[in-house]
Every structure is written in structure tokens, then in C-alpha cells.
């Protein structure tokens, strides 16, 4: 590592890429060394802002031996190719959620990273947020007993950057609402309940957005192999002026942890509402620090390979559940992929 710093290249200079660039630049032990985006204007903007050269071709990044790792904050349909290429060039990989569009893709990504001895780190930033951290601590320390039910409500307001030209609104590129946004809550459910998924049922409504290829208001329930239940609610139509609203509760055999924001008749109207979602930049910083520790072998990724596959499988099962309007057994998805 040059100057003792961990050198990171950023692949993808869109809205979340910019947050990564800011977070990486603020780290004392790491530096943002290069960035790349197929849209030159995006790359140039971040290049200017952070004083980092924009690569013209990905090959420049693969060929640069001083680059230790890449952060992939690019559209989901590029994750597989970028991860395989980065790992083949010996770079550690932090890939944004969802890790891939299919189980086959993720399995290959994991295989190549294992073979090349590099870290594959799935960026489920919400796990580093203080609230899920507190939920997890209540499980780890045994104070709520065995967790059996998670209810997580995620409302977001700006899920479609770029409008119709954004990849997020394309099912082909993002995998749909349940993979693109649902994966946040799905991952939390698997992590906090500590149960592997057995069955998924989901239903949704496409609200206020003619032409969207998938529902943007979704209710998902995951039944675990040990019988746990997760009820995840996703909304993208949050009125008011906050970007996101979340709340949740985790019920265990001895007690429960809750992040309750319900107040008397709180109405989300054009007046906005008292919604809280703080600490995301701090979460991203903690995630990056964890990633760097993983790359130097000090720690292992918080999202295990099994959990990454499980979360993706649940997302795929939920998408299918909505289309067939019935419950989907996880085993049936796994059988199809062999």
C-alpha cells in the first residue's frame, strides 16, 4: 500500500457513488485513488470534487497494482461482470446491494473471489446504522431471548434518481423493487432473526406511477426454517420533505426491541411529518472501515456468503410471489438453480 494507505477505486459515480467518494475521502487510513463511470460527466464531476483522476477505461484500474480494492456503486446489472473482473485483477471488492441479479451470478462472484483470495464484501449499510446495531445487540446479549418476529417499515421518498433514464426504474437492470430496495429489509431480517429462509409471500401495489414495471408499495413476509416471521413493509411514495422513514420492532421470547415512531395520528401529508433517519453517513463510514479490516484479514465480512445468497434468494422469491400471487418455497428457487 502506497504511503501506508489503503487505496480504493470507485466504480460508479452516481448518487450513491458520490456518498462513497465522500466517505472514503474522509477516512484517515484510506484514499480514493481512482474512479470510473461510463458516463464521463459523472466521473468528471466527482473527479473535480475530490481531486481524483477519472480512468478512461476500466483496464487502467485493473492494471494499477497500487489499487487495493474497488467499491462497486454501479447499476446492479453490472455487479457480476465488474466483481469478476476486479477479483481476477486481484482487487478486493465492496459491492453495493443487491450483490447480483441472480443466484448464478452471485455464486460465480463468490467462487472467483475465493479463488483469487480477495474479499467479497456486500454493502448492506443498514446493518451499520445505530438502530439495527442496537436491535442486534439486544439479541447478542440475550436480553430479548430468541428473536422470533421482525417488523421493519421502510419508507423512502426518492427511490428513482434519473427518472425514466435511471436504471433503478428498470426491472431488467435493478431486479425490481424487491431486489433494489427490499433487500435492505430482507438482509436485516435474516441477520436479526438469525434464521434461514423457508418460505416467502409478498404482495404489492403500483401506486401513483403509471408505467413502472413493478409494485412500489410492497408487503413481504418471510417464514424462517425455525418458524420465525419477518413482516417487511416498503413504500416509496412518502409525502413530505424527508428522504426516508423507518421504524421497526423485534420480538423475542423474553422481550422486544422497538424503534417506534408512531405518534398520535401522525399524518404524512404535504405538511411533512416528524420522520427520523439519521446517521447514514456514519454507517457508511463504519462499513468502509470494516471492509478495510476485512481486506487486511483482521475481520470477516458482516454479511456472510450464506447470508448474501439467502437475501438474494428471498428477493427473487418475493418477486416471484408477487407475480404468481402465492407463497414461494425457497427450496423451489434453489432447485431451479441447482
Amino acid at each position: 500500500m502506497t504511503e501506508g494507505r489503503f487505496r480504493i477505486a470507485l466504480l460508479g459515480c452516481g448518487s450513491f457513488g458520490a456518498r462513497h467518494a465522500r466517505a472514503i475521502s474522509a477516512l484517515r487510513g484510506a484514499s480514493l485513488t481512482a474512479l470510473f463511470d461510463p458516463v464521463p460527466t459523472s466521473a468528471i464531476e466527482l473527479s473535480r470534487q475530490f481531486g481524483v483522476p477519472a480512468a478512461n477505461r476500466l483496464q487502467e484500474i485493473w492494471d494499477d497494482p497500487s489499487i487495493d480494492a474497488v467499491v462497486i456503486a454501479a447499476p446492479t446489472d453490472t455487479h457480476h461482470n465488474l466483481t469478476v473482473a476486479a477479483a481476477s485483477a486481484g482487487k478486493h471488492v465492496l459491492v453495493e446491494k443487491p450483490a447480483a441479479l441472480s443466484i448464478e451470478q452471485l455464486t460465480e462472484m463468490q467462487r472467483v473471489c475465493d479463488e483469487r483470495g480477495v474479499v467479497l464484501f456486500v454493502g448492506q449499510t443498514l446493518r451499520y446504522h445505530p438502530v439495527p446495531q442496537a436491535f442486534h445487540r439486544s439479541v447478542r446479549e440475550g436480553v430479548i431471548g430468541d428473536p422470533v418476529y421482525l417488523n421493519w417499515i421502510g419508507n423512502s421518498r426518492r427511490p428513482w434518481p434519473g427518472g425514466w433514464s435511471g436504471w433503478q426504474s428498470s426491472r431488467e437492470r435493478s431486479g425490481g423493487m424487491l431486489l433494489h430496495l427490499g433487500i435492505h429489509s430482507i438482509d436485516l431480517a435474516l441477520w436479526l432473526l438469525g434464521d434461514r429462509p423457508a418460505r416467502v409471500f409478498a404482495q404489492g401495489v403500483t401506486f401513483g406511477t403509471p408505467g413502472l414495471e413493478f409494485p412500489n408499495v410492497v408487503q413481504i413476509t418471510i417464514r424462517g426454517r425455525n418458524g420465525s416471521n419477518a413482516l417487511l413493509e416498503l413504500h416509496t411514495n412518502l409525502p413530505g420533505n424527508r428522504s426516508a422513514f423507518m421504524s421497526g420492532r423485534l420480538i423475542g421470547t423474553l422481550g422486544q426491541t422497538e424503534w417506534a415512531l408512531n405518534e398520535d395520528g401522525v399524518a404524512f401529508t404535504d405538511q411533512g411529518a416528524d420522520l427520523l433517519f439519521t446517521g447514514y453517513d456514519q454507517s457508511l463510514r463504519d462499513e468502509l472501515l470494516h471492509f478495510i479490516d476485512c481486506c487486511s484479514g483482521k475481520r470477516s465480512p458482516l454479511v456472510t456468503a450464506e447470508q448474501a445468497l439467502d437475501a438474494l434468494t428471498v428477493g427473487i422469491a418475493a418477486e416471484r410471489s408477487i407475480s404468481i400471487q402465492d407463497a414461494v418455497e425457497i427450496a423451489s428457487i434453489l432447485e431451479e438453480t441447482g
Binding site: N151, R199, F201, Q203, Q219, G227, D264, T269
Partner: protein, 358 residues
């Protein structure tokens, strides 16, 4: 019409302790007797006798005899749920108005029989529900005023925290013993979220997916009934809803659990918590706590009984009918089918009985 209405306490084994004081305090109601069937277990007779003694009333161990009394205008039925339908039908057949504890019945077949009996007799009927609460009434009023537009998704939680600390051991058998209760906590509680969804949307619930189990309590485990579950409801017009129901051991919950309703509509959303407003108390003793300053009896049961008596007087209909109760039971039945099959299940109701009261 009479100035006062005579009520017969027709079995007192569940919840009558909540309703009887409201009757006793009501200016237009007089409790005239306690009655039950002769061949019930001895402990039920004892409970009934206690009510008779408390209010200085005769205890009549013969239902037709009690229902033949001219001073009985209506009955308050609080037997174990599996006898609800039979007692309601007998009361209607004697021309008595019926206030029936929840759940209205424990099978769709029984509920259909209740609907038929009430229709034939033309008596006033309602089942105990939580729709009179200010939280629900205000939400409904906001929808009626168009404030949140067209509801498209709802989330309702009815989770009772604190474990098995309420009621006697005999009482608890009434929840877990299928012969008495007809099911577990879904039979006990799921009606509340269902009626809420039906009342706020005016839409029929067409399909149900449910996942439930025994997570917390030995009495449920011993009887093989669920104590907690998650239910997803599909309504007409593509509207979707979730219901989380059950009983948890969660200690020291300031509001006794989650009794919440969230309605998302085309112009806005509305969240309501039955446990709020809550008042926090910080003192050396008792331990710091937060609690709602209102009681369920004051905000839900008294208004329900007031409305029932007003309906007797005015000849109007309470906000929930026998047909609405049937619709609730049909959804609960589909939820139990879904738990067994692991699939989404269709709500089975004869066409003529589908539409809920809007």
C-alpha cells in the same frame, strides 16, 4: 318503546366482567337475570353464580326459560366462543336482541346460521368490536372527508404484551382449549384487524396468507394452538393489508402491546396508536412508566353499548351486523387454512353474504 331495556347476562365465562358494569351504570339498561345452559362444567356455573350474587339477580340454569321472560329485551352473550352461535340463535328465535361477545362464531357454518337466525327474527344484533374507539372513528372520518384519498395499503397490529398475567387459569383455558375457544390467538384476536380493515375500506377481503406458530407460551404449546402470527390480506381493487396478531411475553410494555393502524392512501397516510396519547410517570415508586390515560372500556366498550341501546330505541343498525361478523369469521377460517397449506387461500363466502357494511 320502553324507557329502560332489560338485559339478560347469558353466560358470564368471558368478558362479562367488562360489560356488566357498563350495563349496571347505564341509565337506560337494567340487568334482569343471569342464565346459562344446565349441562356446562361446574366452574362455569360458579362464575355465573358470582355474577348473579354480585348484582342480586336470579341465576337461571335454563336458557329457554330465561329467554321467555318478558322483562328481557336483549341478551349479552359471554359464553366460551364455541357456544356463541348456539346461544345467539336461541336468543333471536325468542325475539330477543343480541349483543354477542367476539368472535361472533368459531366456524363459517355457525356464523351463517347466526346470520339466518338474525335475519329471520329481525332483531337488532352486533358483536363486540373495537371500531368505536376514537382512533378508528377519527381515521374513518378522515377517510370520509377525503383527507388521505383512496386507501391502497393498510397495516394493523394487535399484539397483547405482558404474557398470561391476565385472568384465572380457568379463563386461560378459554383461549387455548380448542373445544372452548375454537382456535388460538388468531381466533381470539385476528377479528380486530380484519374488522378494522373492512370498516376503513368498505372492501371485501378476497384472499389470505398467514404464517403463525407457538413461540412463547406453554398453555398454547400443550393445546397445539398458535400464540402469534402474521397475516397478509388481499382486498378488492388490489388493495393490500397486513395484520400482526398475538400475545407476547414482552414485560413492562408501557402501552400493553401494539394496537396500531396505518393507512396509506392516494393523498396521504394516517397512523394511529390506540395506546397513545400516553402519559409518562417518573417517580421512586412505582417504577417509571408510560401509559395511556384512557381505558378500553371508556373509549370502546361504553360507546358500543351506548350505540346498541340507541339502536334499540331508534330502530337503527349498529355499525357491525351479523353479516359483517360472518365476513370476519370467513377470513379467520381462510387464515387457518393458509397456515396448514403454506399457500395463499381464497376467502370462501356465499355470494349473497359477501359485501361488508361500508
Amino acid at each position: 318503546m320502553a324507557d329502560t331495556y332489560g338485559v339478560l347476562l347469558l353466560s358470564c365465562v368471558r368478558h362479562q366482567g367488562t360489560y356488566a358494569p357498563v350495563f349496571a351504570a347505564h341509565p337506560d339498561v337494567e340487568i334482569v337475570a343471569v342464565a346459562d345452559e344446565p349441562d356446562i362444567p361446574a366452574w362455569m356455573h360458579e362464575v355465573n353464580q358470582q355474577f348473579a350474587d354480585e348484582y342480586g339477580l336470579p341465576y337461571i340454569r335454563n336458557v329457554p326459560e330465561a329467554l321467555s321472560r318478558p322483562d328481557v329485551d336483549f341478551v349479552s352473550i359471554c359464553s366460551e366462543p364455541t357456544r356463541h352461535a348456539r346461544l345467539a340463535i336461541a336468543s333471536a328465535n325468542h325475539g330477543k336482541h343480541v349483543l354477542l361477545d367476539k368472535p361472533m362464531a368459531t366456524t363459517v357454518e355457525d356464523a351463517l346460521d347466526v346470520v339466518d337466525a338474525i335475519d329471520r327474527a329481525g332483531v337488532t344484533f352486533t358483536f363486540v368490536n373495537r371500531l368505536y374507539s376514537p382512533a378508528i372513528q377519527q381515521t374513518r372520518a378522515a377517510i370520509d372527508r377525503g383527507e388521505i384519498g383512496l386507501p391502497y395499503a393498510l397495516d394493523v397490529s394487535f399484539v397483547s404484551a405482558g404474557g398470561l398475567t391476565t385472568g384465572s387459569v380457568e379463563d386461560f383455558q378459554l383461549v387455548v382449549d380448542r373445544d372452548l375457544s375454537g382456535g388460538g390467538e388468531l381466533m381470539n384476536f385476528l377479528g380486530y384487524p380484519i374488522e378494522t380493515v373492512q370498516y376503513l375500506t368498505g372492501l371485501e377481503i378476497t384472499d389470505v396468507y398467514a404464517s403463525a406458530g407457538n413461540y412463547f407460551f406453554d398453555p398454547h404449546r400443550e393445546h397445539g394452538v398458535e400464540d402469534f402470527g402474521v397475516v397478509l390480506l388481499t382486498l378488492e381493487r388490489g388493495v393490500i393489508a397486513t395484520a400482526t396478531v398475538g400475545r407476547t411475553p414482552t414485560p413492562n410494555h408501557p402501552r400493553g402491546g401494539e394496537h396500531t393502524v396505518r393507512v396509506h392512501g392516494s393523498s396521504g397516510s394516517r397512523f394511529t396508536d390506540e395506546g397513545r396519547p400516553s402519559v409518562a410517570l417518573y417517580a421512586p415508586s412505582p417504577a417509571p412508566s408510560g401509559f395511556p390515560p384512557h381505558s378500553v372500556v371508556d373509549v370502546m366498550i361504553s360507546p358500543l353499548i351506548d350505540d346498541f341501546v340507541a339502536c334499540l330505541r331508534e330502530g337503527q343498525k349498529p355499525i357491525r351486523s351479523a353479516r359483517d361478523g360472518l365476513a370476519v369469521i370467513a377470513v379467520i377460517e381462510a387464515a387457518y387454512r393458509s397456515i396448514r397449506s403454506g399457500r395463499r387461500e381464497r376467502v370462501m363466502l356465499p355470494e349473497a353474504n359477501r359485501k361488508v357494511t361500508s
